[in-house]
């Protein structure tokens, strides 16, 4: 069934057991993003230390795709330098806009390549991107804040 390309096992695992969920008290930046068409919301904290994402935590409501995606994302960027994190985010964005033509770079995206199938469902792409865009927003704010 076509559906299985969307809901891979690893996605449902992350959905049932999300990583880094629950907001930390310590943070450099907090952002709140919503998906206006379905009402999903996410609050995301990042803690930056010397240009490194030393902590990412989040809370929110959303569908399996959005929850699994933010879970994978937070695990991926955790401990990475901002520059590395941006490369990962860009690679994921590219995958999402590929309309099924890309597989995703597993060395970079790890579990998140399981979301490749989402790119064939245009209505779900923004679910998958919600957490990533929140992170990118927070990271840019944090970087610009550090520079000052």
């Amino acid at each position: 069934m076509e559906l299985d390309s969307l809901y891979q096992e690893v996605i449902l695992d992350h959905y049932k057991h999300p990583l880094h969920k629950g907001l930390s008290t310590e943070k450099t930046v907090q952002v709140h993003h919503v998906n206006p068409s379905c009402g999903d919301e996410i609050t995301l904290n990042i803690l930056l230390q010397d240009g490194v994402v030393s902590d990412v935590t989040w809370d929110g409501v959303g569908c399996s795709i959005s929850q699994a995606s933010v879970s994978m994302m937070s695990d991926l960027v955790h401990g990475k330098s901002l520059d590395e994190a941006f490369v990962i985010v860009d690679s994921f964005s590219e995958l999402m806009s590929s309309k099924g033509s890309l597989q995703g770079d597993e060395s970079l995206l790890e579990d998140a390549v399981a979301l490749a199938g989402v790119s064939k469902f245009p209505a779900r792409v923004k679910c998958a991107l919600l957490g990533w865009m929140a992170f990118k927003d927070a990271a840019i704010q944090g970087r610009d804040g550090e520079k000052i």
Partner: protein, 416 residues
């Protein structure tokens, strides 16, 4: 239980020939968002374009004459449909425009019943669609008036227990939906309007979910304005209606300014034509008005009473069926008393978006999300719901497919 001959009806709607994912037939349960169109409507639009196309009210040639007759003929059809005078029918692009037209018209004047000032109140409800909420929020912002609202009971009905304190001499506008697009509950317009009129407030009814589904007569509804969209009642996209009492339309300021709505124009100023012309600036959505006329003719040939009975029967069947499903929670009344064919529900541990996705694999089209009624979602503590809504082309088998689809969804996500 009195059901329509759905097979015969479906034969008029070409979209039902379409193959959905996995070659499934289309089980369309999203008429609350938009309805499908019978070929009679598509043909009426095409005939307008291929036989009578011209700018209305503007030329002395044959096509302009015929186009004007077609467009004004559509206005007559709409006026008969809701029991109004023909000059009380304003064509807009959508109910959303109709409601915004009203809200802007209020702040385009500082005279008479339309002038609002700080201290005045605009009363809405917690179950409003954004289209009947945000225009009033913004009107309140522009004028300094205060927005107040009816709450919703846990059963999903309008909470009218505080009506005596909510409607006071401060109340200038009561804007309320006739039927909730999420809960299906039908609100007691007559009672609210009676109360509102004793304090001199104007009553605006959002009829988007009522005009398509049951007979509506403005001569007895007691509202001052009603708004609805053509695309939810078998009509084309891009056409809406605002009805208002003639005496009020005469006092109202225009909304959109431009051609055909004027009496006279100089470089410095302009005066206005009488209603409805005053509110229809520019070359109008002529083909869409004609299409809406054809849609109403189609509905009336079947009969609004029969359509309503059909939907009540479907709703009854669906409410019983859905209640047998473990882990399914319905938002809105569980019986069909003052309730239309819109059923919102949540599935334990399955997000509406995921449910909608699985149902889509079986050809089932439902709507998921906040349904443009975000405050209502907050009231019920959910991010969104899954909504099935019915119309004249649905039958009991569609509901059976939905119920099987929900079971399959629960199985897919290993819930149940």
């Amino acid at each position: 239980m009195s059901l329509l001959d759905v097979a015969a009806i479906k034969a008029d709607f070409p979209i039902f020939d379409k193959k959905m994912r996995n070659d499934a037939r289309l089980v369309y349960l999203d008429s609350g968002a938009t309805s499908h169109k019978p070929q009679q409507v598509l043909d009426a639009e095409r005939t307008f374009y291929t036989q009578h196309n011209a700018a209305v009210h503007r030329g002395s040639h044959l096509l302009a004459e015929e186009a004007s007759a077609a467009y004004e003929g559509a206005r007559e059809i709409v006026s008969h449909f809701i029991g109004a005078d023909v000059d009380e029918i304003i064509f807009t692009k959508s109910a959303t425009e109709s409601l915004n037209l009203l809200a802007y018209s209020f702040s385009n004047t500082n005279r008479g019943v339309f002038a609002l000032k700080p201290g005045d109140e605009i009363l809405v409800s917690e179950m409003e669609h954004h289209a009947n909420l945000i225009p009033w929020q913004q009107l309140a912002k522009r004028t300094g008036a205060t927005l107040t609202w009816f709450g919703t009971t846990d059963e999903g009905r309008l909470d009218i227990s505080k009506i005596d304190s909510l409607i006071s001499t401060r109340t200038k506008i009561v804007a309320i939906t006739h039927q909730s697009n999420v809960l299906g509950s039908i609100n007691p317009i007559h009672m609210i309007a009676e109360k509102a009129h004793t304090v001199g407030a104007l009553v605006v009814v959002d009829a988007c979910q009522s005009a398509p589904h049951f007979a509506l007569d403005v001569s007895t509804l007691d509202a001052d304005f009603i708004a609805f969209s053509g695309h939810k009642m078998l009509g084309p996209t891009g056409i809406g209606v605002l009805w208002g009492r003639a005496a009020l339309l005469a006092q109202m300021e225009p909304f959109l300014y431009g051609g055909s709505m004027i009496e006279s124009v100089t470089m410095e100023s302009a005066t206005w034509a009488p209603a409805p012309r005053k509110f229809e600036a520019g070359v109008p959505n002529m083909a869409q008005a004609v299409g809406l006329g054809a849609a109403i003719n189609y509905l009336q040939a079947i009969g609004m009473e029969k359509i309503h009975d059909h939907e009540v029967a479907l709703t009854n069947y669906a409410l019983s069926g859905l209640q047998t499903i473990k882990g399914l929670r319905i938002f809105g009344p569980l019986d069909t008393v003052d309730r239309g064919g819109v059923i919102s529900f949540a599935l334990d541990e399955i997000h509406p978006h995921d449910a909608g996705q699985v149902l889509d694999q079986y050809g089932i089209a439902v709507r998921t999300g906040h349904h443009c009624a975000w405050p209502l979602m907050r009231k019920f503590g959910v991010a969104g719901t899954t909504r099935a809504s019915f119309y004249l082309y649905n039958d009991l088998s569609d509901i059976d497919v939905l119920i099987d689809g929900i079971a399959a969804t629960q199985k897919y996500f290993k819930v149940s």
